[in-house]
Amino acid sequence: MQTHPKKLLVVIGESALEKFLVRDIKQFGALGYTIADVRGGGGSGEREAAWEGDRSIRMEVVCDEAIADKIAAHILATYAKNFSLSLFFNDVSVVRREKF
C-alpha cells in the first residue's frame, strides 16, 4: 500500500490546557487531533484524575514535520514554564496524505 511519511506529535499535559492547545494547533495549520483523558506521574508529581483539578490529557496530532516543529516550539515557549507538560515526536506513515 502506498504510504506517506508524517510526524506524530504527542502532547501530555493538564486538561486545563485543552482549549488552548486545540486552538493553537489549528492556527499553525494542523488539520486534526485526538485527545484522551489519561493519568500518570513524573517530575512534577502524580496526577490521578481524581477530581476536576487533577485531570490530564494526551493530545495526538499528525501533520507535516515543519508544522509539528512549530507547534512544539510554541507550546514549549507558551506553557511549559507554568504547566506540567510532556512532548514527543514519532515518525508515522499515513495512507491518505490529504487528511493530515
Partner: protein
C-alpha cells in the same frame, strides 16, 4: 457528627492507608452534577415563594462579602506568610469563592437539627462563586504590574501572528474573553444557576414528580460523594508537607475568622439562625471546583498545589468535622 461526615472520614482513612479504593471518574462527575443541580433546584423552588425585595439586600450583602474576603486574606498570605504575589492572590481567590459541597453538608447539619433557614440560600451559593475569583485575579494583576514593571520579557509572553490572545499569565495580560467564559460558564455556575431557574420556573408542583430523585436521595448521594472527597482531600497531604506550617495554620484560622464575618453579615441582614449558620459556612468555605479551573488559566504562575492543598487538604476537612458545628454555635450566640 453527621453520618455523611463519617463517609468522608472513611475516604480519608482509605487513602492514607493506601487502599485501592477508587470511585470511577464518571461516577464522580455524575454525583457532582447531581449535587449541584439538586441544590439549585431546592433553592429555585423556594425562591418563587419570596418577594424579590426581601432577598435583594441579602443577596447584595452575600456578593459584597464574597468580593471582600480575598482582600482580607491577601495581606495575611503576602506579608505574614511571605508568599509570592500570585500565590497570595490565588489562595485569596479560593477563599473568596465558596465550596458547594461544604454548603451541602451544612444544609444536612441544619436540617438534622430542625433549625429553620431561608430555603432560598442556594441562590447565595451561586452568587458567591464568582466575585471572590474575579477579585483575586484583579488583585494579582494590579499588584504584579507594580512589582514587574517590564513584564513583556517574561518567557510566557509569546505572540502568535501579532495577536495578544495567546499570551498567558497575570503579569503579561490575561485573555479576558476565554477567562470570562471559564468563570461564568464553568459547570458549577451553570448547574447551580440552571437548577435555580428551573426550580423557580417550575415551582413546587412542577418539581414534585422529580422530588424522589433530587430531594429524597440527596443525602445518600452526598454521602457517596463525600467518600470520594475523602480520598481526594487525603491525596493533598503531600502538597501540604511542601507548603509548610504557615498554610496549615492559615487553612484553619482563615475559615474561623471568615465564619465570624459571615455570621455577622447574616445576622445583620436579618437571616434566621439556620440562614446565619449557612452564610457563615459559605464565608468559611474555600472553592475547589470553580476557583482552581479559572485560576489555572488566569494566573498560571500560581502554584496550584499550594492553593488546592490548603483549600482541599485543610479547610475542607476542618469545616466538615469541626467548623460547621462551631459556626452553628457562633450563629446561636448572635441570635441569643
Amino acid at each position: 457528627m453527621d453520618p455523611v461526615v463519617l463517609f468522608f472520614l472513611l475516604g480519608v482513612v482509605a487513602k492514607l492507608a493506601k487502599s485501592d479504593l477508587k470511585l470511577p471518574e464518571a461516577l464522580y462527575e455524575t454525583l457532582s452534577i447531581y449535587l449541584l443541580l439538586a441544590i439549585g433546584l431546592k433553592g429555585g423552588v423556594e425562591l418563587a415563594k419570596h418577594p424579590i425585595l426581601t432577598i435583594a439586600p441579602q443577596a447584595f450583602a452575600a456578593i459584597a462579602m464574597g468580593a471582600t474576603l480575598p482582600l482580607l486574606a491577601y495581606p495575611v498570605l503576602r506579608f505574614v506568610g511571605k508568599l509570592s504575589n500570585v500565590d497570595s492572590a490565588a489562595i485569596a481567590a479560593h477563599y473568596g469563592s465558596v465550596s458547594v459541597v461544604t454548603f451541602a453538608v451544612g444544609l444536612a447539619f441544619v436540617l438534622k437539627r430542625g433549625v429553620a433557614y431561608e430555603e432560598y440560600m442556594p441562590l447565595f451559593v451561586a452568587l458567591m462563586e464568582v466575585p471572590g475569583i474575579v477579585v483575586g485575579i484583579v488583585l494579582a494583576r494590579m499588584l504584579a504590574k507594580r512589582e514587574l514593571p517590564d513584564s513583556s520579557d517574561s518567557p510566557g509572553d509569546v505572540r502568535l501572528g501579532g495577536s495578544t490572545e495567546t499570551r498567558m499569565g497575570a503579569s503579561n495580560g490575561t485573555r479576558w474573553r476565554m477567562l470570562a467564559h471559564e468563570i461564568f460558564l464553568g459547570k458549577s455556575v451553570v448547574l447551580l444557576v440552571g437548577g435555580l431557574l428551573i426550580g423557580w420556573f417550575a415551582g413546587p408542583q412542577g418539581i414534585d414528580p422529580m422530588r424522589g430523585l433530587f430531594f429524597d436521595l440527596f443525602k445518600g448521594v452526598l454521602a457517596l460523594f463525600l467518600l470520594e472527597m475523602g480520598l481526594v482531600a487525603a491525596g493533598r497531604v503531600a502538597d501540604l508537607k511542601r507548603a509548610g506550617p504557615f498554610l496549615i495554620v492559615f487553612g484553619v484560622a482563615a475559615p474561623m475568622a471568615f465564619s465570624v464575618i459571615g455570621a455577622t453579615v447574616g445576622y445583620a441582614v436579618g437571616l434566621s439562625l439556620g440562614g446565619t449558620t449557612l452564610l457563615a459556612i459559605l464565608a468559611a468555605s474555600a472553592s475547589y471546583i470553580a476557583a482552581p479551573a479559572a485560576l489555572r488559566i488566569a494566573l498560571p504562575e500560581a502554584n496550584p498545589s499550594l492553593s488546592i492543598g490548603v483549600a482541599l487538604g485543610i479547610t475542607f476537612p476542618f469545616n466538615l468535622t469541626f467548623g460547621i458545628p462551631l459556626y452553628f454555635e457562633i450563629a446561636k450566640r448572635l441570635h441569643a
